[in-house]
Symmetry: C2
Subunit: 341 residues, 2 copies
C-alpha cells in the first residue's frame, strides 16, 4: 500500500471537512485578507471588508492554491491569485443580493440591505476591478500571470452569461438537461474553473495538467450546483441556512425537478408545471414538487448523478503529480456532494 | 517654422473636433466594435452591443491609441486595449444610470430603463470582466500587457472610490477645492489616466514618457470634469443634452460653486448653502446659484482654471516624440474645455 492510498483511506474516515480544516491554507488566506483589508481606509474599503470577511468556506481560493501545489507550484507565490478568485465570488454575491432582493447572506444582513443598492453596486465593481490588480501582483513569469488573467476574466464573463441563462429557464420544468448543465457550467462551474485553471497555469503545470485541472473543476462545479438544488429535499432548512421553498417560490426548475420531469408521466408532469407557474405560494409549490419527486425516485436519481460527477472528477486528479495538493482537491470534491449547506 | 508648429497653427484654425474627425482611429475603433459585437449572440451580448454602439465620441480609446502612437507604438497592436477602456467607460455609465435612476443616455433609453436593473447590473459586470480578456489579447510583450492590466484595474478601482467620494460631498458648497480635485481625479481622471498610461506602456514608451502621458491625462481629466460642471452656466441645455438644473437638483457642489464659495461673503455663502440644501426645486436652486456665481465672476474664474489645466497638459506632450500621436492628444485636450456637451 503506497503512502497515497493510506492517506486516501485516512481521509475517507476523517471526512472531507476535517481534511480541509487540517490544511493551513484557509487560515493563511484569511490572515492575508485581514492584512489587506484593514478597517477605516475609506467607505468602499469598509464595505468590501464587511463582505470579504464574512464567515465562509473560501473553497475557490483553496482550490486555486491546492491546484498550484498539485502541479508543483509555490503556495506563497499564488496567494494573491487565490484572493482574486474570492473577490470575484464575493462581488458576484453582492450583486446577486441586489438582483434577488436578498436581505440575508451568511447569517448577516446582505451588503445591499446594510449599505444600500448604490454602494453595493460600486463595491462589487471595485472588487471585480481590483481583483485583476491583485492577480497581477503574483511574482511569477508574466506569461503565466497573463494566462491566469485571461482564465479569470473569461470565467467571470461566463458567470454573467450563466446568470442571464438561468433567468431564461424560469418556470420550465421541461427544460432539457443539457440546457440546465450549460447554465450550471456557466453560473457555478465558471468560478471553480477559474480557480483550478489559473492555479495550474500559475503553478507551472503542463498543458495536459492545466486541462485535467480544468475538467476536474468543471465536474466539481456541476456536482456543486446539483447538490445545491438537492439540499431542500435532503436537509433541514435550519441546517442549510436557506429557506427550503425559496427555489420553488422563485420558479426555478432545479436539477431534481428536471430529472423528475423526464421520469414522470403526463399527470405528474402537469403537477410539476403547475408548481413552477408562480400561481401558488412557495410552500405549496415546494410541497407539490416534493411529493412527486420523492415518489418517482427523482431525488435519489439526481443525487446519483451528482456522485457520478464527483467520481469522474476524482479520476482527473491522477494527472496531477503532487499528493499534497491532490488530497485537498479530492476533499473539496467530496465536500461538494456531502455538504449540508 | 517647423512642420510641427505649422500643424499646430492649422489645428488651432480647424478646431479640435475637426482634427479628431480627420483621424481614421475613431472609425477603426467603431468598425472593430461592430465586428466583435454582432447581433444575436445571447441576451447579455445584445445588451452590451446596445450600450457600446450608442453614438459617442470614444475619447478614451482614441487617447489610448494616440498615446501609443506618440511614443512610437503600433496602432493595430493596441486596438484591443483601446476597446477595453471603452468597455470600462460604458460599464460605469450603465451602472451609474442604475444608481442615479437616469432613464436617458446619449439620447436613447438608458440600459436599466430599457432592459431592467438586473440585466443592467449583469451586463456591466460582464463588460468589466471581459475587458481584461480583451486587453490581454494585445499581441505585445507579456510584461507590457500586464502593466496595462494593472493600470486599467487600478484606475477602475479609483473610479469606484471617486463615485463614493462624490456622494460624500453632497450639499456642501464649502467643500475644500483639494477635496473636489481629489474626487474629480478619481472619478473622471481615472479613465483618462488608464487610457494614456496603458497606451504609453503598450506603445513601448520609456518610464519618463509613461509618467508624462499619465500627468497629461490627469490634467485633461481634471479640466474635463471642470468643464462638465461649467456647462449648465455656459451652454443651452438643448445643446448639452443635460438638464441645466440637474446638478443643482442633485445637491452636487460643482466646481464653479466651490470656486464661488471661496470668493463670496457671508451673505452669498448662505445663499449657496441654501441652494444645495435640497429644500428647493432644481430650477429654483439653479437660479439662485447662477445669480450669485455670475455676479461674483466665479464662472469665469472656474473656466480660467480649467484652461490653465489644459495649458499644463499641453506642456507634458513635449516629452512624447511622435507628432502624429501628440497632435491628436492636443486636440482632445482642447476639446475637453471647448466642447458644449
Amino acid at each position: 500500500m503506497t503512502a497515497r492510498t493510506t492517506d486516501a483511506a485516512d481521509d475517507l474516515a476523517a471526512g472531507p471537512e476535517a481534511v480541509i480544516a487540517a490544511s493551513p491554507i484557509a487560515a493563511e488566506l484569511r490572515a492575508e485578507l485581514e492584512r489587506r483589508w484593514s478597517a477605516g481606509t475609506d467607505h468602499i474599503g469598509d464595505i468590501a471588508r464587511y463582505a470579504l470577511l464574512a464567515p465562509g468556506k473560501m473553497l475557490r481560493p483553496l482550490m486555486l492554491v491546492a491546484t498550484a501545489e498539485s502541479v508543483g507550484g509555490d503556495r506563497a507565490a499564488v496567494l494573491p491569485a487565490a484572493l482574486s478568485v474570492e473577490y470575484l465570488h464575493v462581488a458576484s454575491l453582492v450583486h446577486d443580493d441586489i438582483i434577488d432582493g436578498d436581505e440575508l447572506r451568511r447569517g448577516r444582513p446582505s451588503v445591499p440591505a446594510k449599505f444600500g443598492v448604490a454602494d453595493a453596486i460600486v463595491t462589487g465593481d471595485a472588487l471585480i476591478l481590483g481583483l485583476f490588480d491583485t492577480l497581477a501582483e503574483c511574482g511569477l513569469p508574466a506569461e503565466a500571470v497573463l494566462g491566469a488573467v485571461r482564465a479569470v476574466a473569461a470565467a467571470g464573463v461566463d458567470l454573467c452569461r450563466g446568470q442571464a441563462l438561468e433567468a431564461e429557464l424560469l418556470r420550465d420544468p421541461a427544460c432539457p438537461p443539457e440546457r440546465y448543465r450549460r447554465m450550471a457550467a456557466l453560473k457555478t462551474g465558471a468560478l471553480f474553473r477559474a480557480a483550478c485553471r489559473s492555479g495550474a497555469i500559475l503553478g507551472g503545470g503542463t498543458a495536459e495538467q492545466v486541462e485535467a485541472a480544468t475538467r476536474f473543476a468543471e465536474r466539481v462545479g456541476a456536482a456543486f450546483q446539483m447538490r445545491d438544488d438537492l439540499l431542500p429535499y435532503l436537509a433541514d432548512s435550519s441546517v442549510t441556512g436557506k429557506s427550503a421553498d425559496s427555489d420553488a417560490g422563485n420558479m426555478r426548475p432545479t436539477f431534481p425537478v428536471i430529472v423528475g420531469h423526464r421520469m414522470a408521466g403526463p399527470q405528474d408532469r402537469a403537477v410539476l408545471v403547475d408548481a413552477l407557474s408562480g400561481t401558488r405560494s412557495p410552500a405549496e409549490s415546494f410541497a407539490l414538487l416534493r411529493e412527486v419527486l420523492e415518489r418517482l425516485g427523482a431525488v435519489e436519481h439526481a443525487a446519483e448523478q451528482a456522485e457520478d460527477e464527483i467520481r469522474r472528477a476524482h479520476a482527473e486528479l491522477d494527472a496531477l503529480p503532487v499528493a499534497e495538493g491532490t488530497r485537498l482537491l479530492a476533499a473539496v470534491a467530496d465536500l461538494a456532494i456531502h455538504r449540508d449547506r
